[in-house]
Symmetry: C2
């Protein structure tokens, strides 16, 4: 996204902007708790300034916390490409990959990069929140006199033993470990653990309310046809997101209800596997792509993602494995019925049959059946969607996320 296709953001978000969106009383509670922490400071450390779910939420979170009255800084670990190769391996191995292994040199580079950053980052805040494995080692090298919290966004319940043997001594130095849902807690780990769900920002470009005019303008700008209903999945071409399975579900749906499938994808330059899946799918879906019934649409513009989620009759997330699945939260917030796999953090979000549908990702016929039902029964689809929106309002907005952190700070 190099061209300026949309107005640059020029206004800072204020907590007051969430008054009408958050549950009643939420803002007062935030201000009251922030007031009890007056004078305290917090710093968040992660590995990217831009791109990826963690950076996305921090981008709103840190400014809103400061607006609430708690000075909140944000630092991003400095790493070389070599270092990020190593941490990509940690990402995969901590989530279970047994085939990868590490050299002593790679461990050394991990330690060195963390130690170096600790020397010039200044993490002398009252509360230090470290996100994910890349900067986890800072706890060993920085001055550590106040509580440090490790906020783990991935699933480390069944890690590769070599990776875990290296990581555990760092993790054990934290005062608290935060995970996204119960499924990710580890009873065997001698660190106090706590659940904080991630959240979405309801006024970000990806989630903000849009007028009918804006929606139509964006659909036409990206040449999205609207003469038939469509279903959508928003995800990378990752095997765990099972895009090829989505296509199979669509084929089944299509025999019973005429509709399109829009695949909104992101592709990063360093993802050869994604590129392979993409090519394979282009071949498999060829007749549909040619007839215009299946569309592959790049999701670089958050406003486009917003519009497609908002205008889809049904939103799919047929992952075989999932972290929390914020993309589901986004669609639910837009009042759409989501049909998603009963894995990872998804059941935390969706109450089956009430605020969406939980499905077995391997039961293609079963998934297709629910999609068809929702396509055919618009009243049901809208009702499920309305429940979904309320569920997100109560549990998964950034204001709730702020409250969780304020409670955490007050408890440390």
């Amino acid at each position: 996204m190099t061209a300026m296709t949309r107005p640059a953001p020029t206004k800072f978000k204020r907590l007051a902007d969430y008054q009408e969106l958050a549950p009643e009383g939420a803002l007062d509670e935030i201000f009251e708790k922030a007031d009890r922490l007056k004078g305290a400071s917090m710093v968040h450390v992660n590995a990217t300034t831009f791109g990826g779910g963690v950076a996305e939420i921090l981008d709103s979170f840190v400014l809103l916390m400061t607006d609430a009255g708690v000075r909140t800084d944000w630092r991003v670990l400095h790493g070389t490409p070599d270092f990020f190769e190593v941490t990509k391996k940690f990402h995969n191995t901590l989530q279970g990959d047994r085939e990868l292994s590490f050299s002593e040199e790679e461990f050394e580079l991990f330690r060195f990069t963390n130690e170096k950053f600790a020397r010039f980052a200044d993490l002398s805040h009252d509360f230090v929140i470290i996100h994910d494995p890349q900067p986890v080692g800072l706890v060993e090298y920085a001055l550590h006199t106040r509580p440090w919290v490790w906020r783990c966004h991935i699933d480390i319940t069944d890690p590769n033993p070599q990776a875990w043997e290296f990581m555990e001594p760092f993790v054990l130095q934290y005062e608290r470990m935060i995970v996204s849902s119960e499924a990710y807690q580890r009873a065997d780990l001698a660190v106090p653990q706590q659940i904080i769900s991630p959240s979405i920002d309801p006024i970000s470009a990806k989630n903000v309310e849009l007028s009918q005019d804006q929606v139509e303008r964006i659909l036409s700008q990206y040449e999205i046809p609207t003469d038939k209903p469509y279903i959508a999945q928003v995800s990378r071409f990752d095997p765990w997101k099972d895009p090829e399975g989505v296509l199979k579900v669509y084929e089944r749906v299509k025999t019973q209800a005429d509709c399109r499938l829009i695949f909104v994808y992101n592709m990063s330059a360093d993802d050869p596997e994604g590129a392979r899946i993409y090519e394979r799918m282009k071949a498999t879906a060829k007749p549909y792509l040619e007839s215009g019934d299946v569309l592959f649409v790049r999701g670089d513009d958050p406003l486009l993602v917003n519009v497609i989620q908002r205008t889809s009759k049904v939103v799919l997330q047929k992952s075989t494995r999932e972290g929390f699945g914020l993309v589901i939260t986004e669609a639910m917030w837009k009042g759409r019925p989501v049909v998603a796999s009963n894995v990872g953090g998804i059941p935390t979000q969706i109450v089956d049959g009430e605020s969406g549908y939980l499905v077995d990702p391997y039961d293609l016929d079963g998934v297709a059946e629910i999609v068809v039902r929702l396509l055919e029964d618009e009243t049901l689809a809208d009702e499920i969607g309305a429940n979904a929106r309320e569920r997100v309002r109560e549990r998964f907005l950034i204001t709730r996320h702020m409250l969780d952190y304020l409670d955490l700070m007050l408890s440390l």
Copy 2:
């Protein structure tokens, strides 16, 4: 450079490591001045963690300053791709490009990004040093009670008027502006200005002394032939580096002295112009590339750059425009005779006929003549090279750079 082709760095540099390399007394002077600043803190802000000359020097500088006793932090501005598109335009327009222009939206994005970073970066240090245009706006948005210094690494003596009109109000808020050489001072600008030359780190991978064994191993690893003498230019395929002119000089040299030309280049993914020049040069140089007399070698591995600079009979830098030209400093430090254009910061480095040669980049015959003389007279080449090394030792090592900053802090 994704593979780990060299050992990961595992040792932190200490000032003591420079004892034998820096001029006599330099280390004592550093410790003495740092001691007078005991308790003070400094922070540097630039736009990249990795890659590019500024990040390269900061990577050593901040840790050595802290080692000397002055706590030195390092922050990197958070920006989106859109923002960096805008700052690339500032880079070009501030250096004179009249064809580009800015929209109000682009100005707004620049302001917004700076203001946002100011809110979570914590720049409450005793001395704040802002590098280059990208973060120049922080001075407007951060708390500014102590001296702020703008360290400008580019040539802003003849800027595009629209770009300058936008930038000037930011620049005027600084207590001091630092430029790399006299040529870059601006008498018309109401900010106290001062010259601090950039520097090289003599123990970085790119500059560290190597044993004959190491040199031979690296040459053979990269299949650099050594049966003939070679000349080299290390640079991007940038029109201002005039790589096509280098080829023409080589053709002239080749008729008088048999040698090879090694072009050590870097190519970034977002440089279509570089890719075009590269393709053109491959066509022009085809017979030489086929005979193996001209080599295009990627300079991703700093050890390879080190070795090629070290083993070239003559190093060329035939730029038609140049900032300071640290690549020249690097070659001089390795005791090689450099033949370089009399532009930008180059005459600050080379005393013509003593520690290298200053040439007119458009006088191809003249450049070729000096190269041939140096190829034929090895005694002269070595003598010029030895003078070059001494000149760098006295003026362009990181230890001198530290002293300049300590003096600056003591003067503010």
